[in-house]
Symmetry: C2
């Protein structure tokens, strides 16, 4: 195999549900990319070692002097090796200083620490800090002041100032939606429905999602706690069909998240907002932000490799 630039780093983005491996060349060029469903909660037989060898064993054998750097839940209590969190505010140098090197049976692996926010409202992240560092490397002007949104099961909102992650907040909106859909009375009509849920891209689904957003927006300081049950009432009075209840519920929950964030924005104008992650989810958040009058939103994707490269560089792992 011929590479334009010689390999310089084996980078791993190792989360809860998936494992991504990148072979990177000098200057951070992406030479090869692999994905496996081996998140730390879905390991193959043989555990972490088997997963690592399965996805990157041939690189390691062929290029034994290359450093290996991994970010994500792999450094958590239930990961391969627990790595203490680094305190916020943190820049790439502070994150790099918290890297832990260990040998789990496949040679040395370096693991990126997550971030912890102290004070009365503690919060934690693992993996998102690397995505953010990558985005700041790709779009350096965002480093001055920006607000990152990383939608997912646990959506992170992170304030960036002067190249540092200053503060962040986790909204478990995605998980809340899933447990309410699967286990509460609000999800029951859709579960029992004979009619299959309408295509997510349909106008009907979008209208129900928007109605949920608007209900959350209109709730003002009350928030949508007292509106959650309208998911059922609107079904009982015939205004929402069984499949539409889920789109409405999703709108309510994402709407409450954005209502809450905007109620807490003490700076004006709002710093530039950057959506980071899965395209479909980012689209839903873009729609939701627009419903709240926030229309200038940038979207970036797959900034993990750039982040791992940046942190490896700050840690002087690259030779």
């Amino acid at each position: 195999m011929h590479h334009a630039s010689p390999p310089a780093l084996i980078a791993l983005d190792w989360g809860t549900s998936s494992l991504r491996a990148y072979l990177m060349g000098r200057e951070g060029a992406l030479l090869e990319r692999r994905t496996q469903p081996w998140g730390i909660q879905h390991l193959p037989e043989g555990g972490f070692v088997a997963a690592f060898r399965g996805i990157a064993g041939d690189w390691r054998d062929r290029l034994p002097t290359l450093p290996v750097l991994a970010a994500g839940m792999i450094g958590s209590r239930h990961g391969w090796q627990e790595v203490p969190y680094v305190e916020c505010p943190a820049d790439p140098a502070a994150i790099a200083a918290g890297i832990v090197a260990f040998d789990g049976g496949c040679g040395t692996v370096h693991i990126v620490p997550g971030l912890i926010q102290g004070g009365g409202l503690p919060d934690v992240m693992r993996g998102e800090e690397t995505q953010i560092i990558g985005a700041l490397a790709i779009e350096p002007e965002l480093a001055t002041a920006s607000l990152f949104v990383l939608p997912g099961t646990h959506c992170k909102w992170a304030n960036i100032r002067a190249g540092r992650v200053v503060r962040f907040t986790t909204y478990i909106t995605g998980e809340l939606y899933a447990v309410l859909r699967d286990h509460s009375i609000l999800g029951r009509p859709a579960k029992e429905a004979v009619v299959q849920p309408v295509d997510k891209a349909s106008a009907v689904a979008d209208a129900s999602f928007h109605r949920g957003l608007k209900t959350a927006l209109d709730s003002g300081a009350e928030g949508m706690a007292g509106r959650l049950f309208t998911t059922r009432s609107l079904f009982l009075n015939g205004e929402l069909s069984a499949p539409q209840t889920l789109d409405y519920l999703s709108g309510l929950l994402v709407g409450e998240e954005i209502r809450s964030v905007t109620a807490g924005l003490h700076v004006s104008p709002c710093p530039p907002i950057v959506l980071l992650g899965d395209a479909g989810l980012c689209d839903r958040y873009r729609m939701a932000l627009a419903a709240f009058g926030i229309n200038t939103v940038r979207t970036l994707d797959e900034t993990g490799p750039a982040g791992l490269w940046q942190i490896a560089s700050a840690a002087r792992l690259l030779v």
Copy 2:
């Protein structure tokens, strides 16, 4: 059996998880009370008919001319006979006018309608209207203006004015707590804990509950959506033990409910608050209200029989 006053009504409070039957004498005296776990989702073999005969068959046989009046989920879509909702605002006469009489195989049974609130934020109740009517009969001065709180899986907050249920809002706080405890990452530490949950009455549990309340209170207009994950962060950083996370979560959720209600109170001073229902739950809500500075709270219990009597009287079912 000798009764002080002759029987005049067979009254049933028939909800989702339990069935209560009352034999009532003239003037609404409670002559006999029976309870079975035969809520509409937990019927014995033989269904509604078997449940009715099991709890009140001997009364019906012995006193065949007595009217039977039932309130609660028994009148819902999944009940014995669906009874259309009555529109809010509603007083006992309006509720009585919505009663449906039917014979399901045990002679005529009258079923109390639930209430529906129209408009942009529809809401529904079945059974709580009867509890409230009963409370207003017991404490007539509450009829002028009061705010009823009926804690439970789905907590109802109902505004009373001039003897009518004017508006109400459902908070699914109890169900939210149960699904988050049983199915989300927030409940995982307590589930996996070797240490058993501390006694609910303990000071440690109360302190964690209060910490959750205070977090919700301090969230102001942001609400606690962005604080929910602190249930996990405070466990990860060692500030909460695994069993304490559940008390904290309960405080967060009940706190958000009260934060939301108080943010929506547009009248000052707040009307007299009345807690109605299970003593343990009412105690938790009383503590929570106190944390929000609301200390004058009355508690009433088992107002269902009085409500059924009142509605039977308004419907001229009593001979």
